[in-house]
């Protein structure tokens, strides 16, 4: 079939261009606009170049938030990925229990994020919450509104509870796609369970696990709602992750310039790390 060039075809992409412009490009450019100018209200702007960026990148407050963010994301990835794979391995491959397991697993994913925050907030209350009260009556000194360690433990437990299911479902999808013949061949070759996992299940799950790591990285790096509802960034600034810090700067202090600069740096970090992750994993796949 011959392709004929017809420039009128460009008209057909106008709707999607307009859509992307309105929901991504224009807001993004507004942020860029704020990040390079100074404003004193009444809509007067002065060019300030990279001043805000310099200020943000040197700010220990930003460093602190970034460090906490990296620690949070690293920790939940280290817990959720292996735990998700382990749970997926124990799930039945066929039979009536499959759908029961899948529904149970999907439940946490269906709960709105602020509700998750509120649930854990109430459950972890040291005096009346089920979790908080139980821990304290066991003699463990637990109070997430006053102790940073308690706050962090609660935060990580909440995220693991909320999101491990996603890893489970993805890993499970990878597992059920393995043809029975592989397991039969492994049996005949005398492979131990560990070898079956290492040489059959893990390689076959690799693609979906790549997606799981990427999704969990991006989502956890941008987490806001649950943390905001659970601890609001406290006690002190001990759980102030990047997004919480950003909102405090932008809406709490109304420092639009620094907030815009932070936003852009934040965005570039997410983009860069995702790209590195993806490239590394794909290169691994090809070699």
């Amino acid at each position: 079939m011959n392709k004929t060039a017809d420039n009128r075809a460009w008209f057909l992409v106008i709707p999607v261009v307009a859509l992307v412009a309105f929901n991504a490009l224009i807001p993004l450019m507004t942020v860029v606009n704020y990040s390079v100018q100074e404003t004193f209200g009444d809509n007067t702007f002065f060019w300030s170049g990279v001043t805000w960026f310099e200020q943000v990148l040197r700010d220990p407050r930003f460093h602190g938030a970034l460090g906490r963010q990296l620690f949070f994301t690293g920790t939940i990835l280290l817990i959720e990925i292996p735990l998700g794979v382990a749970i997926a391995l124990t799930m039945p491959r066929r039979g009536p229990w499959v759908s029961v397991c899948l529904v149970l697993m999907a439940l946490p994913l269906l709960i709105p994020w602020n509700v998750v925050g509120a649930m854990w907030n109430i459950m972890a209350l040291p005096d009346i919450g089920l979790l908080g009260h139980t821990l304290n009556s066991l003699g463990i000194d637990y109070n997430y509104t006053r102790q940073p360690v308690s706050a962090w433990v609660t935060l990580i437990a909440m995220d693991v509870w909320h999101w491990t299911s996603l890893v489970v479902l993805l890993a499970y999808a990878g597992l059920v796609s393995i043809p029975e013949a592989y397991y039969q061949a492994a049996k005949i070759d005398g492979a131990r369970p560990w070898a079956v996992f290492r040489y059959i299940q893990l390689p076959k799950m690799k693609r979906v696990l790549t997606i799981a790591v990427l999704l969990r990285f991006m989502d956890s790096f941008m987490i806001y709602t649950e943390v905001s509802v659970l601890t609001g960034g406290g006690p002190g600034s001990s759980t102030t992750l990047l997004s919480i810090d950003l909102v405090k700067t932008a809406l709490g202090q109304f420092d639009l310039g620094p907030a815009a600069a932070t936003s852009i740096v934040y965005f570039l970090i997410v983009l860069a790390i995702s790209w590195v992750f993806y490239t590394l994993m794909m290169r691994n796949e090809e070699s």
Partner: protein
């Protein structure tokens, strides 16, 4: 290497205590001689894969026993039976190199690396995988992957039995016969008992010394390719093997004579009395035009290269015959005759006076 004996083996996927259940495999006694090349031939759903999985130990038979050289292995795991199986779809361990794939069964058994290396190289040489040993297994083509499965099977020095479950299904047609003759050649060299499961008669007849034909959960005939062709023990065998298959015609018995639509036909195994359903079987190769005999009309001619397949109708029954290239085909109304000794009678499907039941 081992002689495999199946003793009164039967299998059902249902609960046999519930009484009248469907049997995937009806009671069966079979002996596979040590070092033989066998084929298990039958249509889809005839129970051949069930039988294979029982022999490999992936499935426990509902009844009966499997003996390797007289030793009961019915309750042994696939690993303990020391067998190898090549599956329909190539199974390779993607992340490993070809070398590691072949070495895998040996490593699992704790063989020292110094002993593994020469063994792997020897088998790689045999299966023509030597140039690819360092490559990643996932990069090979389908036939390369099947060779790896095969090599993994042969690499164990003490393997009792190698089984192939329709191994050429995903192989390109032009590579099929290369791989098939390769298998045959391999068997000549290693002399391990091999069982080849297929529904393709060409594959079965070219690979095996002995072919076991199965239908509806039972073995209908065991024989050399020539025996299957010349003396089918069951109309199913006659029909399933041969291209086109055997003509099967209803006959009546009158005073020891076989009558087809009132006309006497000479058969190799006459019977005195008509008991059960009697049918006559004659291969198209042994039907020819004759001055007198069974009247028929030609309904079609298909050219198959060295011969032509002629379709005829006689009193509503279809009779096929083969006519050599160059021989004239008479116009529509003809008479047909059967070669002496090549038309046989079957009672309820089984050859009368044959080895079957």
């Amino acid at each position: 290497m081992a002689r495999i004996t199946l003793e009164n083996l039967a299998h059902t996927y249902f609960d046999p205590s519930e009484g009248d259940v469907e049997w995937a495999l009806r009671p069966l006694d079979l002996d596979w001689a040590d070092g033989g090349a066998f084929a298990l031939l039958g249509p889809s759903g005839c129970g051949k894969t069930t039988l294979l999985n029982i022999m490999s130990g992936l499935l426990r038979p509902t009844e009966g026993h499997i003996l390797f050289d007289g030793r009961d292995v019915t309750d042994l795991s696939p690993e303990a039976r020391n067998i190898a199986q090549v599956f329909q779809f190539p199974v390779v361990y993607d992340t490993m190199s070809v070398y590691d794939n072949i070495a895998f069964p040996l490593r699992n058994r704790g063989m020292p690396e110094a002993e593994i290396a020469p063994r792997v190289r020897e088998i790689a040489e045999l299966t023509e995988l030597t140039p690819t040993l360092k490559q990643r297994a996932s990069g090979l083509t389908a036939d390369g992957k099947q060779k790896i499965s095969l090599a993994r099977g042969l690499v164990r020095p003490d393997v009792n039995l190698v089984m192939f479950d329709e191994p050429l299904t995903v192989i390109d047609p032009h590579l099929k016969w290369v791989l098939r003759s390769k298998l045959r050649e391999l068997h000549q060299r290693v002399r391990t008992t091999m069982i080849y499961v297929t529904h393709d008669q060409t594959e079965a007849l070219t690979f095996a010394d002995q072919v076991v034909v199965m239908n509806a959960g039972q073995v209908v005939q065991i024989g050399t390719p020539v025996e299957l062709f010349e003396q089918p023990q069951h109309t199913f065998v006659g029909h399933f093997i041969g291209s086109p298959g055997m003509n099967v015609l209803p006959v009546a018995i009158d005073n020891g004579r076989a009558l087809f639509e009132g006309l006497p036909v000479e058969v190799a195994n006459p019977v005195a009395a008509s008991e059960g359903t009697i049918e006559l079987g004659v291969r198209p190769e042994f039907v020819d035009f004759a001055p007198t005999g069974i009247p028929a009309t030609i309904t079609g001619v298909a050219d198959a290269g060295r011969y032509r397949i002629v379709d005829t109708q006689s009193s509503g029954h279809r009779i096929k015959l083969l006519v050599d290239e160059g021989k004239p085909i008479p116009s529509d109304a003809v008479h047909l005759g059967f070669a002496p000794g090549q038309a046989r009678l079957y009672r309820d499907g089984w050859l009368i006076g044959g080895a079957g039941r």
